[in-house]
Amino acid sequence: MTAQIDSNLNDGFISELKDCAKLLTEKLQNNQFEEASELIQVITHSRDQHIFKSVGKLTRGLHNAIVNFHVDVDLSNEPPKVENSDIHDASDRLNYVINLTQKAADKTMDMVDQSVPIAMNLGQEASTLRDEWARLKRREMTPNEFRELYERIDGFLGQMVVGTTQLNESFQNIVLEQGFQDLTGQVLKKVIGLIKDVERDLVELVRMAGQVEEITGLGNDKDVIEHDKEIFAKRKTLADGPQMHVEERKDVAANQDEVDDLLSSLGF
């Protein structure tokens, strides 16, 4: 709707410009210089009016965007304080995701670190007992050795009960820790929603700014074009991983094999 109105406004300005230009040529050809001069003034005035209107719309768009994101800016401070905005809130939420995932990873690894020696000890003791048990089956054991084995099996069964209880507890805790996925998932979904809103409003702003550039001729500024080129060049090796949609992208190695292939093509 807004786009339609803007395009009408632009078309109106352009057709007015064309009409004036045609008239101006006629006046000049007929040596009506005073009237031609008046026409030039009309054109300049119309162009100024159009720029003012476009800048006005841009400012209003910016204002709306700021209001939409609930950016509560305190302009009396330098730099302005932005504390109650959705963006600030989104940063807090993302930090929460980092903290929660870190805690979950730490706890999971703690549980694994606790479990590994338990499983290893039980395994080692079971392996020793199996050897002893085989000796018993082959009747190679003295009565004394058998008594020792008898005691040892009793001890081992005790260790098994304690050990497997601890292992079960750790496994349960590891599973519980995965709850971070639900919590962080909800937070991330909210932030994604906000980013979509920001993107939509930014696109609208860029579109409005583009119209101002078109009228003023700023869009063809060499410095701006050079600046854009520099940014694109820098992006090539800028750290922004992990890269998304790797299967569809030719500029990204999709897996370790592709990395290895690339490196070997470079003589590695």
């Binding site: 995932t101 870190q102 990873a105 730490d106 690894m109 090539k236 090796t237 750290a239 922004d240 991983g241 992990p242 890269q243 790797v246 500029d251 990204v252 190695a253 999709a254 897996n255 370790q256 990395v259 690339l262 490196l263 470079l266 590695f268």
Partner: protein, 123 residues
């Protein structure tokens, strides 16, 4: 062998530390970015560096370049373990003198292979 692990996420440092321990390398130290790592490398007698790419402060690629430019450290074997997988980045790392490049998420096997390959080559 004394190894320095550089990554801004403690979880990843811990994973690499555990994997290295399983491979028989127990003497590992940690730093959370290039800025912290570089003085450690200069003052310590590290024989191997494992670094992430994307870190605040000083990135892994800048750390690699600083290592290669340093008179004392220039021959230190460096393994890049990173989520960065753009071809231009891999080429940049190779040109900067990286000894191995492992993309995250990685397997224990991949890390083991690359480390062994580096040691075979370095001798």
């Amino acid at each position: 062998m004394k190894i320095l692990i550089v990554d801004d996420f403690s979880t990843m440092r811990r994973i690499i530390k555990n994997l290295l321990r399983d491979l028989g390398f127990a003497n590992t130290h940690e730093a959370d970015d290039g800025q912290t790592a570089l003085p450690m490398l200069k003052s310590g007698d590290f024989q191997f560096l494992v670094t992430d790419w994307n870190m605040p402060g000083m990135t892994g690629i800048d750390l690699l370049k600083a290592v290669r430019a340093d008179e004392k450290l220039h021959a230190l074997p460096v393994l890049m373990v990173t989520a960065e997988a753009k071809r231009d980045q891999i080429i940049e790392a190779a040109q900067a003198g990286v000894n191995g490049y492992v993309v995250k998420p990685f397997t224990a096997q991949a890390l083991k292979e690359k480390i062994e390959k580096i040691f075979d080559r370095v001798g």
